[in-house]
């Protein structure tokens, strides 16, 4: 069982290492991840929202839905823990 798990882990790791061949090098400014959407955020965020911290601007404004449902997720987690564990004595 343990050997099987180890082999599975090794195969997955080797596949991922093979996949890194196509990734951009460390700190490459021209990598696809840095070219597609983020230049718009960086150049336009302060102008459009007057928030100097771009991370906050993207978190609260451009990706508001993401943050909203994320708050809902953590709220649901709290409710789930309360309903699973809490034994109210009163």
């Amino acid at each position: 069982m343990k050997a099987l798990a180890f082999i599975a882990t090794l195969i997955t790791g080797l596949l991922l290492l093979y996949g890194t061949k196509d990734f951009a090098a460390w700190g490459d400014p021209d990598s696809p991840a840095n070219q597609h959407l983020s230049p718009v955020y960086i150049t336009k965020a302060v102008e459009q929202t007057h928030v100097p911290n771009i991370v906050t601007a993207v978190l609260g404004d451009y990706r508001g839905y993401d943050t909203m449902f994320e708050t809902v997720v953590i709220f649901c987690a709290g409710m789930a823990v309360v309903s699973v564990l809490r034994r109210d004595k009163s």
């Binding site: 069982m1 343990k2 798990a5 180890f6 599975a8 882990t9 090794l10 997955t12 790791g13 991922l16 290492l17 890194t20 061949k21 990734f23 951009a24 090098a25 460390w26 700190g27 490459d28 400014p29 990598s31 991840a33 840095n34 959407l37 983020s38 230049p39 955020y41 960086i42 150049t43 965020a45 302060v46 102008e47 007057h50 100097p52 911290n53 771009i54 991370v55 993207v58 978190l59 990706r63 993401d66 943050t67 994320e70 997720v73 953590i74 649901c76 987690a77 709290g78 789930a80 823990v81 699973v84 564990l85």
Partner: protein, 129 residues
């Protein structure tokens, strides 16, 4: 050989994340204790978070917090600021991972109360009894 070494040195960050991910993955599928599985999942998530953050790095880039008046007057050069998008996504991912860990710990406590053990095979035995 020399070319391969150069390749590894240029992408050593991915190698670190893959090793970290393998540790977490092995703990998730190889261990029998549920708490160890949960810790493995947390290590796995850490590897993914580090991977995303490293995707946003630019060589010589500054932090994505600008000087407001300077930015409004002269504009911003996008190549001198690191990519803020992975930071945002991983900020939410960290909070989700915390809540997942909390719910998992609560369910584990309930399992322990019910079956008196956290070892997977013993729990399966008790269920089939």
């Amino acid at each position: 050989m020399d070319g391969m070494l150069q390749e590894i040195v240029a992408k050593y960050n991915y190698w670190i994340y893959v090793v970290l991910m393998m540790i977490g993955f092995y703990a998730m599928i190889g261990k029998r204790n549920l708490v160890k599985k949960l810790l493995g999942m947390n290590i796995f998530q850490t590897a993914i978070i580090l991977f995303f953050i490293s995707a946003g790095v630019k060589r010589g880039g500054g932090i994505p917090i600008l000087d407001k008046h300077h930015a409004l007057e002269f504009g911003v050069n996008a190549s001198q600021i690191v990519n803020p998008l992975p930071h945002v996504l991983m900020l939410t991912a960290i909070v989700v991972s915390v809540s997942v860990t909390g719910v998992a710990l609560a369910v584990m406590q309930r399992i322990y109360r019910e079956y008196g053990t956290l070892e997977e095979d013993e729990i399966l035995e008790r269920i089939s009894e």
